[in-house]
Amino acid sequence: MKLFENPFGIHEQAVSVRNKRMELIAANIANADTPHFKARDLDFKKILASSDPAPMAATNVRHFGTGETEDPSGLVYRVPYNSSVDGNTVEIAVEQAKYGQAAADYQATLQFLENRISGIRKSLRGE
């Protein structure tokens, strides 16, 4: 285990992605009454796929590339369950649920980081 080379592993990037998602959903809630506003979200899977450290190399012209070549920012528009007259796609109940979920995800990432830190502490103390 590369505890001291890369102590936080993927969670270091994960916490910034979680942050970005909180920000986006906060913006959706802020614009719940803005005409023509389109709600956005982050697709965690797409971001994870684009950060793949070892994609399969296409060494021959007849090789197909692997993985998705989509926008690595992972930004997607939310597809609303119901349309609205003013063109706004924010559904406040959906956004509230997603915000709660994003907060829980953020806390999960924090918990992983805390565990890593306490692990390092323990190994340094040698108890």
């Binding site: 614009n31 803005t34 509230q96 709660g100 924090l110 830190i117």
Partner: protein, 140 residues
């Protein structure tokens, strides 16, 4: 950063406050009368716009993704014309013009604005808790 969440929710709190203020103004002027049709009070409505451009940042808004009040428009409904010759404001034909404020609509606007305000307060609360937990990470 999480602090952007505070900025975004802050712009929304501000916008919803302006919406509440216009509603209060409309309700206060529901009984206003005028002797001239064009001077009669018309209900005001704020029009929101998302902060998406660099120009918004230059205008002093701290974070993109928030919301601002783009303009405040008068509603289009016709004002009510009432025959009341005894009224000191009445015109030569004895008519006065009442405002076009609909009290029921204003009450609904008020509740909607206050609910949206509460939503954004919750956003701030949650972000604050997460930020405090992030600060505590070193104590693990």
């Amino acid at each position: 950063m999480l602090k952007n969440v505070f900025g975004i929710a802050g712009t929304a709190l501000n916008a919803q406050t302006i919406r509440l203020n216009t509603t209060a103004s409309n309700l206060a002027n529901a009984g206003s009368i005028s002797g001239l049709e064009e001077e009669a009070y018309r209900a005001k409505r704020p029009v929101f716009r998302a902060l998406v451009d660099q120009s918004d940042l230059n205008a002093g808004f701290s974070s993109l993704g928030g919301v601002k009040v783009n303009e405040i428009v008068d509603t289009e409904e016709p004002v009510r014309k009432v025959h009341d010759p005894g009224n000191p404001e009445a015109n030569e034909e004895g008519y006065i013009f009442l405002s076009n404020v609909n009290e029921a609509t204003e009450m609904i606007e008020m509740v909607a604005a206050s609910r949206s305000f509460q939503n954004n307060v919750e956003v701030v609360n949650t972000a604050k808790q997460l930020m405090m937990r992030t600060l505590d990470i070193t104590k693990a």
